[in-house]
Amino acid sequence: MDEFQEILQDFLVESFELIEQLDQDLVELENNPEDLELLNRIFRVAHTVKGASSFLNFDVLTHLTHHMEDVLNKARHGDLLITPDIMDVILESIDLMKSLLHIIRDTSSDGGIDVADCVARLDVCSSGGSLSAVSTQDVSMAADEIMEVETVEEPIVEPDYENLSEAEVEAEIERLLKQRQIEDKAKRDAKGSQKTEAASSSESVQNEQPKPVANAPVVAAAKPKPALSKKDEDDDDGDDVRAAAPAKKAQAVEQTIRVDVKRLDHLMNLIGELVLAKNRLIKINDDVEERYEGEEFLEELNQVVSIVSLVTTDLQIAVMKTRMLPIGKVFNKFPRMIRDLSRELNKKIELEIYGEETELDKSIVEEVGDPLVHIIRNSCDHGIEIPEVRMKKGKSETGTIKLKAYNEGNQIVIQIDDDGKGLDPELLKTKSLEKGIITEKEAENMSDKEAFGLIFKPGFSTAAAVTNVSGRGVGMDVVRTNIEKLNGMIDIESQVDVGTSMKLKIPLTLAIIQALLVGVQEEYYAIPLASVLETVRISKDEVYTVEGRSVMRLREEVLALVHIGDIFEVERIMDSSEYAYVVVLGLGTSKLGLIVDTLVGQEEIVIKSLGEFLKGIEGIAGATIRGDGGVTLIVDVVALMDIAKRVKKSAIADSSSDAALAKREKTKASDYAVMIVDDSKTDRVIMRKALEPLGITLVEAGDGQEALNILKQGEHSFDAMLVDIEMPRMDGYTLATEIKKYNRYKNLPLIAVTSRTSKSDRMRGVESGMVEYITKPYSADYLASVVQRNVNFKSEFLR
């Protein structure tokens, strides 16, 4: 990056930061037009941007900010009262400034936006003329003039410099002083947090220094929102405080450093690795503990493991904190928005903000902005009534919207309350029916809460007409999509004529999450805990089928059910037990019951992407690495809910169909398959010799484990198995028990072939599901006949 680019980057970062605070200040200013500190601060932003942009040769931006500065400067000196009309012009110019900055960021030049019109109006303001008195023609004429001036004297940064007005001279002085202040700032310092001290010391400074400077220290003394946490103080304020308290020497100058987000991301990735390693260590520790119970070194190992895991957790939290931003960054733009909307809609609306210091991961802060805009627009347009209506209802003329943010467990809750007309569930249902979003049957069964959820359906709108502000039925759908993307939930409460309260619950961070691990057959899946409402155990007869879909009754509600195996195409080889577990998933306003075979437990998992090759698999949000080194897939709850709608019948496994499949028509002797499981090669050969004359297919396995693996592969469909009892790795009894767990092999005849002859052995054989018991030694004919009998060997195949 060359030098210019570097400076440009700094300029942009600084400007965007300044502007962020600006909107809020401006709206505040409208309420207290006399507030000198506010005016000063706003003035300084315009001024700083102007100074820097002229240095960087952004002529259009300089031109605009210069005129803004004029108006603000007049206001600052009491020559001009800020009326709402003037405010509109100032706000417009600030919007222009923002768009210019965006263009600069994207293209490194400031062309493409016509500022002349706005500049003309700014001039009218600063010359003291009333805007309403100026006809539009005048404005456009003025604009033309300015345009000419611009085209002729483009390279000149400040075209009106020749005829400096008194105010401008002052501005120039102010600028110079300000420059000096900035220079001094390096040497001087005061801790940003010691505001009161700064304020008191500023009084003494005031006496000694020339007048124009006196303004600056006072700014630091009071902020419009004392509730703002002290560490959030923007640089701008800090500078002034430092300048105002020369007694304090430079120390706090380098309190913060800018860090490239990429570095933080990298750090977060490394922490992720560490968390995985920690999980693994804990698992190994458990294993070791089991094996060497009572040994002395165990205690030491335990200590080390717990320290490592403690420090890892702390480290993870600390790194997560470096990525946290106060949500105030998002909230800041709303006062301005409310102001514009209330003027546009002719309503009186007040916005109250609480908890803007609440911190959220950077990536999440970026994502919640849009949803909040839509919710607040909605509240203004549909929620808050016009003043006359409010009066009639006996409410105060001014409607209130409250925006709150607070922590709740592992989540952040953003709450938006309005005291408007509230949501009418019946009206919502009728509208949805009209638009064909729901069926009549659905409408009948809908609870009030579910009806409120209808406002998030795409295409839904209660507004009679599409206005500038809302009514297209898109906004709330955006809210739902964005919040679901963050694994968040939406909760609505509303009462007709009292108001609506919306809660957005969003997880603190995205990279490392708490997950519920569930098992289905032999596979495991991780479900983000943020989306899990509860888990319940149900028996099979609690599942009902309604219109081809499984449902269950959960307290007062009817919950749609889907089996995780149906969604992820899991082969149902094992018999499902009497009971199943239902994980109740909640997302936004919808709920779904997910049937799983087992609940494994809660674990902290690190989300890893599946990479370019496998991205975008429906229903899978990513993968994580478990303590044992295996990969477990993470369920994408949003997609899962969509898939669930398409899955028709999803009852708990129907055992008869699988069993029937296994019995296929036999057309020749080799269609019969028998597995021989024995650890002794000789024994296997003897059995093979005895059965080969029948012409049936024979498969051999050396022990129980191998036999089980062969069964699982499902290459052959076996008609019987000859099982030795004494075997390494897995003995015959265990094998039989394992086999009986599989649905498909429930009726597979198992024939024990053993030298164990005692009664108890026979009993155990029967218990584990063996149908025949052949004791060694046996005659080949006897073995063949037993096998024939058990596989229902058709006599015509006998040679």
């Binding site: 690795e273 995985l276 596979e523 969604i567 992820f568 195409e569 899991v570 890893k608 992407s609 599946l610 990479g611 370019e612 090759f613 496998l614 698999i617 429906e618 229903g619 899978i620 993968a623 690495i625 080194g629 295996g630 990969v631 477990t632 897939l633 592969q713």
Partner: protein, 164 residues
Amino acid sequence: MSDKLKQIISKQNQKVDEKVSRADEIVQLVGFVIGEEEYAVPILSIQEIIKPFPWTRVPQVPKYVVGVFNMRGSVIPLIDLRLKFGLNTKKHNEETRFIVMRNGDDIAGFVIDRLTMALRIKRSDIGPAPDTASGDETAIDGVGKQADRIITILKVNKLLERDF
């Protein structure tokens, strides 16, 4: 000074390029067998060759994508080349290997029946892919001739391309 530096750097780059082009005449490949055929890929595209170990099935993908596995903390897709090339699946045995190939940021493991050897083939001994299997669509880069056998050289970027 920066001009001088640039000159030096560009000179160095040239040297490197020269070296590469000279070495280019011999292509180093790793050969492996799938079914009856012998295939090869450039040795530099291979990150590692490992013995099979457990993987996790992934739903809603073609059959030849058998799942994902953990390679030192990275989650990597596993593709069965037998299935991809239209052969039947075969039980893994002592000779089965996973070859992890990389092309830029794309990475995947491939199940192969067995390894043969590292090959050095002269560029002049590599013929183009047969007409019926040429063009952008095919995964065949060319056909290498060596003594008594013919080796199909595969395009790694094609193998790593998602085609579903």
